[in-house]
Symmetry: C2
């Protein structure tokens, strides 16, 4: 039997561990900079590939990520499985019902968001094929068709993530954008599937179907998955829940189905991802799929398989030697022009305001994940060369990065402010010494004076004056003294824990064990209220209060705040 | 770059989907027969391998599970990853603190549970090497050492699962058995690691360390993992929770660590699983690992990786041609004798009653998972031949199967009875017509008469008489009319849903929308109380009541009852 040797297992496991760690670390850095995590994951792969690691330490790159042999094969198998499972999850996020609800606007945006980029891309590829580095041996029509599709497709996961971060996912605006993106994705992948079929047919690989048959089978498969199979899954799930272990039965069913779907689409000559994406859509649509099952699959796939895939994109291409500024700029320009203007006009025709219409345009402009998957496939099939692939990746990264900030500005949306943004290690006192209201406020104001550089007496006087108007003891062992301070440019929050409790004259008569002092600028745009509300929502939960009282360090406080779901 | 072709991806994905489905289905069948799921999963592999599928349809077996080429390599990579991740989870289940608490008894059971099987196994292998089919080319001492170890090791996951099923996991009895099994496992794997090191050294494979060095490095690594690394992980987790996305950050960290640990132990010449097991122990011991994270990792691994591994055990060996009844019987005899008597005596010396001592012996006798992993490795390394591997698998399956029923009998424990065991599709009425108490009872008693074959008038009179003593409307929209019926041999439960509600004279004045009629035998050993308590615990939850009212079929009812966690 062919097996991996001990040496190969060592290298394979180390390689996976390395990708996981690097992708995670850079993903977190991206998140800190308010960017989609996927950008960091891709960057990790670029650093580990020939671009940086391979240039500095070619032997190390060859040890972990060889181009040939058993390890390369095994890594390719993991990569292929990862991408199939990632698209299962992406499909599960699609809500078919929202497509119908926001019907008209979504259709208008979706159609225009395909039409304009497609026309622009096709035109550019026909007019200036050399500038775009069209590949010899691939027919100009096919190349133009690919380039047009590449510009037309959106990145549903990135768009959804951006809207969720801005807390407008469930709004009419958000649902219109999502519905348009779903429509966009389905059509885009269908077209791409046909192109791939054509290439594969040309190179006489796995499939030997004529293009028309591939198109018919693909469309038929898609329709079947979204109707009969969807209905069948919906009927089968309760049966599985009733008769198999939970949730292992459902998860196993979902994954087996995704792999079978992937195998089928791969077999008919279009890529495996299309099958698992459609399985995801059909599966995610069923109300019988429990929230907990969705969460387990999504969490595990985004912890392991997504970083494994996105982190390995950069492993095969040198992003410096293949970087062509003119090509990148040109691709970026047409891509943005087509998508922003196309979707913007589509939204405007659906009677949205100009401001909202542009926000829709920039929202749909995010490419990220899907675009890169498409580029990678095109590269594998020899449809494009490395510089074009690099240009597509750069375009995806730039458009994804721009999306959030621009929508934020256009819709004047801001991310909700939470206390963790304003509390510092120096303003957290796990053991307050104070035993009465005044000294508790003073003790916390001292830390705030040090952290903000403001005068201690002025702060503590302002807070104490406010406190004397009405007590800020809000019950449940919480007290929230606060004041607006002239000259402050950002909010500051101090938090103190008292094991004995401090009498804050609360309505429920309980002493305050968690005391927060909140300082905000004079014109604070509601940040004081937001912080108060956040404290309330978080610490209204008895188990969170209990765990808060046991905190020993600022790190543990952050761990609590960031992992505890806030009451709705 | 070496890549899988489209054709190979199709076969690989189909193969994984096939294993997942077959392992799941047979795993569920095993569960239905009150057996460990792992038995079904292993059986699935035996059916799909050369034993059955390969004999009936050699071409099909070769298509999905070839012995050579890229697919075989990719499957081996998945299998190796699966086993490493499964041992991570097995390690996470270990509670180091319980080992200390049950110290004396656990040590006594653990030591005797190793010593006697080891001595018996070593002796048998030295006295009758031919009967055991010792391999030419392997030194008799090494073979005896392996056989002795194989008999000594327990199956922590199977034992833990059996105890949980019997609801005695958290009892003193359960913790003693678990602590002994942990001790047993750690020592057993350490010895086995040394044997493997010796073989690898002999065949001059990956590692070239002398045996003494391997032993020292292995022991040093184990101690380091359980002390310094455990402490380091405990300190690092809050930092990850505070600064990385949740729970993707922790899950990524856990898996990267497990793979790095696995790579290290593989590198020093012992198997990868040892490293990921120790990482699991160190990680699982930290209180900072949230329950939700544990659950996600455990659920995903037991849904995918465990069936993938156990389902592929049977793929390489023909269990019929290599079945040697004498060998199987002999191995089974020594295995049971050594373990049951050894652990039983150990427990008795720790002052447990004879009855409990034998229960401990049979509990520790379960081999299952770990034993087979060990056998598979020995087979791969040429330490044993196929007939011995088959005998070890048979011994593991038989001892695992026997464990639960014997403990149940010795400790007179029974599995808790739940309403789903006594309700039938014919006794579930999703739309009751009745509008008052009497007619509701009559309507449900009619279904019970049909299901039980008893006289309708007799049942309904008995229930109505009991009802008139005090009303069975227990509030929250629930009513539980019940009666003990002469001549009944098992309990019967009928359940009816009423959209308008039936007035049951409840204390809270609310009409009953969920009505259960419960019939039990005259000498029912408390089953009536158990069923009443189960109804209370399940339907006290408002969201469960809401979902119950929307049920349309018996299957949906089962799905609800089996997936809804019961209030504690």
């Amino acid at each position: 039997m062919d097996k991996l040797t001990g040496d190969e297992i060592v290298r394979l496991f180390l390689a996976i561990a390395t990708i996981l760690v690097a992708a995670r670390v850079l993903g977190e850095v991206a998140r800190r900079l308010s960017q989609p995590v996927v950008l960091g994951e891709i960057l990790a792969g670029i650093l580990l590939g020939p671009t940086v690691f391979g240039t500095i330490l070619p032997g190390g790159k060859e040890f972990l990520f060889p181009n040939h042999g058993s390890i390369a094969l095994a890594q390719d198998a993991f990569r292929t499985l990862s991408i199939a499972l990632f698209l299962l999850v992406a499909g599960m996020e699609v809500e078919l019902s929202t497509m119908w609800k926001q019907g008209r606007a979504a259709l208008s945006v979706g159609l225009m968001g395909i039409a304009l980029p497609f026309v622009l891309g096709f035109g550019a590829a026909r007019v200036a094929p050399d500038l775009l580095g069209a590949t010899a041996g691939v027919s100009p029509e096919t190349f133009a068709l690919f380039f047009a599709t590449a510009l037309s497709i959106s990145a549903l996961p990135v768009i959804a993530k951006t809207l969720m971060d801005l807390h407008i996912y469930k709004s009419d605006f958000g649902m219109t954008v999502i519905a348009a993106a779903v429509f966009n994705d389905l059509v885009g992948w269908l077209v791409f599937a046909v192109i791939l079929g054509q290439i594969e047919y040309g190179t006489s690989s796995a499939s030997h179907m004529p293009i028309g048959l591939t198109l018919a089978v693909t469309a038929g498969f898609a329709v079947l998955m979204l109707t009969a199979v969807r209905w069948l899954i919906h009927r089968t799930l309760p049966w599985i829940l009733a008769h198999a272990s939970f949730p292992t039965g459902v998860i196993g069913f979902a994954l087996a189905l995704a792999l079978a779907g992937a195998a089928f689409t791969e077999f008919i000559g279009i890529h495996a991802i299309f099958g698992s994406f459609l399985v995801g859509v059909a599966l995610g649509d069923s109300a019988h799929l429990r929230e907990r099952t969705r969460t387990t699959i999504t969490e595990f796939v985004s912890s392991i398989f997504a970083p494994l895939f996105f982190g390995s994109i950069g492993l095969s291409v040198n992003f410096i030697t293949n970087f062509d500024p003119a090509l990148c700029g040109f691709v970026l320009l047409i891509a943005c022009l087509g998508k922003v203007v196309g979707c913007g006009l589509g939204a405007r025709w659906a009677k949205m305001s100009w401001r909202e219409s542009w926000a829709v345009g920039f929202g749909m402009n995010a490419r990220g994940a899907m675009e890169i998957i498409l580029g990678l496939l095109a590269l594998q099939y020899g449809l494009i060369q490395e510089p074009m692939f690099v240009a597509l990746v750069v375009m995806s990264l730039v458009t994804s990065m721009a999306s959030g900030p621009v929508i934020e500005r256009l819709l004047r949306r801001t991310r909700p402010r939470r206390i963790e943004h304003f509390i510092h290690s120096r303003t957290f006192l796990p053991r307050m010494r104070a035993i009465d209201r005044k000294s508790a406020i003073d003790e916390l104001c001292q830390t705030l004076a040090r952290a903000s550089g403001l005068d201690y007496a002025r702060i503590s006087t302002a807070v104490w004056e406010r406190e004397q108007v009405t007590s800020t003891g809000i019950g449940d062992g919480l007290a929230v003294p606060h004041a607006r301070i002239d000259g402050l440019t950002q909010p500051y929050v101090a938090m103190g824990l008292s094991s004995t409790g401090v009498d804050f004259d609360s309505l429920d008569g309980k002493p305050a064990q968690l005391v927060f002092v909140i300082l905000t600028p004079p014109n604070d745009n509601g940040v004081q209220l937001e912080i108060l509300a956040d404290i309330g929502r978080t610490f209204v939960q008895p188990n969170v209060r209990d765990r808060a009282l046991k905190l020993k360090s600022f790190t543990e406080l952050l761990a609590l705040l960031r992992t505890e779901p806030v009451a709705a």
